[in-house]
């Protein structure tokens, strides 16, 4: 509707609120990050000293190199795991493939640090698997450092590859491959000349997401990295260490992280813009039934991959039920670890739920309204707001945390140590996902429906409430549930922002691991896992949403 209403309508207000959020909670804190990086600490003058130091000292460049190496290796191994799984589960009849998908998604959505921590219990200095192997004479390499990070990251992020590959394999019209065969190409020729080119864009997209997630991941390298510093842990250390604390350097590292992320996002947008091959699906691809040894190996590979990524989760759950006394595990089983949580730190559990639920209400509400504005009211202001709202995509949690600490530790907005700052962190980090998803749901709703409402005499506001909103509902709710899960599991920004009374479960897990309280950490992680699992189940069951929702998350 191009009705040039002279009155300011409710959508102008929404646009205004969008700008206010972006300015206060993104531009203002990020500006501080820039300032720290480009200013001399003593004199306050503009200076490139931090940048010279970053590029001049091996210590920093090494961390940069580490980050690149970890991200590339993780991407590589994620593809090694994800491609066969995605291919086999869509093209061959694999028994229990739904279960496989569910378990891999669970690994994907579980808090990032759980995998790392679990591998430590298995392969750490006194890990049971390490002991097992050494008892048969095999000495495994140390798990702390690059190896551990890559292992944990790959086993968490490979579902991005398998899900995106599966998604695009399932939308290749069968007739394309049949046409190729009809024109005389063998199966292998068809695979490499028709199938591969068609799925390549989404494979590239998945790989870039993995790269990005691994690049900005903080929890895993923090727990299992040891002295092996990557950019997020470097920034964290520079910012928090008691000796030689250097916010200027931390900010510089942050900016470099954001630049890398921005490059990846640009590449990813480019990759996904080339993804529009098979939109008009007429003939679903065939799922072949394998026989004999082939079938056995296909099953073996799939179950091995998913089993490997589920193993760390299972170990955590197992450990949470082991008997403990203080930090030490005792023989036998008990609920001691859970008791300890509920007696010692019930507030931590409550905080996690309260903060994430509050954030989710805000995310769903604001995200939906902004999504509507972006999809349906494309005026100049909205066109400006749209890209600004996407900034959080390239701001790693650590960077946002640093920005928030600096910006909100002084007038006019003083939020340090409050619940509000935790909630706003969750809110800002998830908002772009919510806006995007609302906007894309709206793009699938015919604007003629809204026009019909208006034509029948219902004012725009009421039409939105009675026509548009009900149609968006299930998309909004399932998106909100995913936001809730990721907020519950958020560590990288909140670990910089918490104080004792605003402690959350992921932070507690991180601290417990650091202090050697593995029992509590396991129990707390198990609770997070169960929450994640329930959320997935609900989304799947009640909103009939496929794995796409989880990738988007």
């Amino acid at each position: 509707m191009n009705l040039r209403g002279k009155r300011a309508d409710v959508w102008h207000l929404v646009t205004f609120i969008g700008f206010a959020i972006v300015i206060i909670f993104l531009i203002y804190p990020l500006f501080d990050v820039f300032q720290y990086s480009f200013k001399n600490k003593e004199t306050g003058e503009l200076s490139l000293a931090n940048w010279k130091e970053f590029f001049g000292r091996a210590y920093y460049m090494r961390a940069f190199g580490h980050s690149m190496f970890i991200s590339l290796a993780t991407t590589f191994f994620s593809m090694v795991l994800g491609i066969p799984l995605g291919f086999f589960t869509t093209r061959y009849k694999i028994k229990g493939s739904n279960l496989l998908t569910t378990l891999s998604v669970l690994a994907l959505l579980s808090p990032t640090f759980i995998g790392a921590y679990s591998w430590i219990t298995m392969l750490g200095r006194n890990g049971f698997l390490r002991n097992l192997f050494s008892s048969i004479g095999i000495t495994l390499p140390p798990i702390y450092g690059a190896l551990g990070i890559i292992l944990a990251d790959s086993l968490q992020y490979y579902p991005f590859i398998s899900l995106m590959l599966a998604g695009s394999l399932m939308t290749i019209d069968r007739s394309l491959e049949e046409a190729s065969e009809n024109l005389g190409a063998r199966a292998t020729k068809t695979f490499f000349s028709v199938t591969m080119p068609l799925v390549l864009p989404s494979l590239t997209g998945g790989a870039l997401i993995v790269f990005m997630m691994s690049l900005s991941n903080f929890g895993t390298p923090m727990i299992i990295g040891g002295n092996y510093l990557v950019l997020p842990t470097l920034a964290y250390n520079m910012f928090t260490s008691e000796v030689g604390e250097s916010p200027g350097m931390a900010s510089t590292v942050s900016i470099i992280l954001m630049l890398c992320a921005a490059v990846v996002i640009v590449l990813q947008t480019w990759a996904s813009s080339r993804r529009k091959y098979a939109s008009m699906l007429v003939n679903r691809p065939v799922v072949k039934k394998l026989k004999g040894a082939k079938a056995f190996f296909a099953h073996l590979i799939c179950y091995f991959i998913v089993g490997l990524s589920t193993l760390p989760l299972a170990v955590i759950v197992f450990y949470s039920f082991r008997n403990t006394s203080g930090p030490v595990f005792q023989p036998g089983f008990s609920l001691n670890s859970y008791k300890q949580i509920f007696f010692d730190v019930p507030k931590t559990v409550a905080n996690s739920f309260i903060y994430s639920l509050t954030a989710v209400v805000l995310i769903a509400l604001v995200g939906t309204l902004l999504g509507f504005v972006i999809a349906r009211k494309r005026n100049l202001a909205v066109k400006l707001l749209d890209p600004l709202l996407m900034i959080p995509y390239i701001v790693p949690g650590t960077v946002l945390g640093i920005g928030f600490i600096v910006a909100f530790n002084r007038k006019p907005i003083f939020l340090t140590g409050t619940a509000i700052i935790m909630i706003m962190t969750y809110f800002i980090r998830r908002l772009p996902y919510s806006v995007r998803s609302a906007a894309s749901i709206l793009k699938q709703i015919d604007p003629a429906l809204e026009e019909a409402g208006i034509n029948l005499g219902s004012p725009p506001g009421r039409t939105f409430r009675t026509v548009t909103l009900p149609l968006m509902q299930s998309g909004i709710i399932s998106g909100a549930i995913m936001s809730w899960v990721t907020s519950m599991n958020e560590l990288s920004a909140s670990v910089l922002l918490y104080v004792g009374r605003t402690m959350t479960m992921p932070i507690k897990v991180y601290l417990s691991v650091a202090d050697g309280y593995f029992g509590t950490a396991s129990a707390m992680s198990t609770i997070l896992l169960v929450v994640t699992g329930i959320a997935m189940f609900v989304v799947n069951k009640y909103f009939n949403r496929g794995s796409d929702t989880f990738i988007a998350a």
């Binding site: 015919d446 003629a448 026009e451 019909a452 034509n455 029948l456 005499g457 004012p459 009421r462």
Partner: protein
């Protein structure tokens, strides 16, 4: 049941002039059709009446009320959409009741009105269905019932039948017409299908390039087109470039198309030499039946198309291609390619258009 008056309406989308100087008066209870090719501005005009677009110039009146600044939801126009726009999350009943609930009518009255609207479109018993369990034609009936239920001042249709199959299209077309007449409601109907327009309308406005070319009842549009565009867009027609020559006696003049010579009406052609001669395929007379010898022609048959009630024959004469029709053909009547076919074009069936402007050249008083 209101008249619509549109004066000097202009609408631009950026550089593009989508509507230019539209002037129309649509009478109470009239079934008025906007007919024109794709992109000519029909939808734009309809949506401007509904209030989804605001015109840049000019006024729109509904009855006595100037509605330029009345928002779309207060205009009380019932619109039927091309892609139905039936609310998928509501039942048939809720869809039809939607506009009535907005108007805060008493429950009793809502129920009665929904009932009667559904009865009008033959959807009794479908109240509890959801739209995904309806066929395209049924969904469009819901759209129609929903628009009628609010008792709008005018009904607006934007190609409501174009998504339906051919048979259903004819059925629904007649139904829309019947319901509209029964309720006596003013209707503005957009289509690019000239046959549909001819059948359904009281009057037609032919639109091209955002301009109204001609307004008139179907008969008038077909039999008396004001310019070459209307003549070619509505119905089939043969058009030949001609040079106008000497007088041929009372009211006639020579028109030369290469080697072919015609006698055509001379009224209105005084200042013109370069012209276009046009005649409809069904207007030709086959020579063995023709008494007068005027405009006798003989062509070589290129191809025939059998259409049931007529045979359409494509002929080649003197480098021109001409289509003529033979009605109620018998098997023996269908000649073979290469045969000679003789026919005559009665001078009074010939339209003459100015080659430059496309305007019809005819006697000043029309008719």
């Amino acid at each position: 049941m209101t008249s619509i008056k549109i004066t000097g309406v202009e609408k631009r989308f950026g550089e593009l002039l989508a509507l230019s100087d539209i002037n129309l008066t649509i009478e109470k209870g009239e079934f008025f059709t906007l007919l024109g090719p794709s992109g000519c501005g029909k939808t734009t005009l309809l949506r401007t009446i509904a209030g989804f677009y605001r015109q840049d110039k000019g006024d729109i009146w509904l009855g006595e009320e100037l509605i330029n600044d009345v928002p779309a939801y207060k205009r009380n126009t019932g619109m039927v959409f091309q892609n139905y726009a039936v609310f998928p999350h509501m039942t048939v009943y809720e869809n039809v009741a939607y506009g009535l609930k907005v108007r805060k009518l008493p429950a009793q009255e809502i129920e009665e009105r929904v009932k009667s609207a559904l009865k009008n479109v033959h959807l009794e018993g479908y109240e509890a269905r959801t739209p995904d369990k309806l066929s395209g034609g049924q969904q469009q009936r819901v759209g129609l019932a929903r628009a009628m239920a609010i008792e709008p001042r005018v009904l607006l249709f934007d190609e409501p039948l174009s998504n339906l199959d051919a048979k259903l299209r004819v059925e629904m077309r007649d139904e829309i017409r019947a319901v509209q007449k029964a309720l006596g409601i003013t209707a503005v109907y957009v289509t690019h299908d000239q046959e549909e327009a001819l059948v359904i309308s009281d009057r037609i406005a032919v639109v091209n390039f955002g301009k109204i070319q001609q307004v008139g009842p179907p008969w008038e549009i077909y039999k008396n087109p004001v310019n070459l565009f209307v003549a070619t867009f509505v119905g089939k027609i043969n058009a030949l470039d001609v040079v106008l020559g000497e007088d041929l006696g009372p009211g006639l003049r020579r028109a030369q198309a290469g080697s072919l010579s015609f006698a055509v009406p001379s009224a209105g052609t005084e200042n013109c030499t370069e012209a276009v001669l046009a005649f409809r395929p069904e207007e030709v007379v086959e020579t063995d039946q023709a008494a007068t010898g005027a405009n006798r022609l003989s062509g070589t048959l290129v191809s025939t198309a059998f259409l049931g009630t007529v045979v359409s024959m494509e002929l080649e004469l003197g480098g021109n291609t001409i289509v003529i029709e033979r009605h109620r053909p018998k098997k023996a009547d269908i000649p073979a390619a290469g045969d000679k076919v003789e026919f005559a074009v009665p001078p009074e069936s010939c339209f003459i258009f100015d080659k430059q402007t496309g305007a019809r050249l005819r006697a000043k008083e029309g008719r």
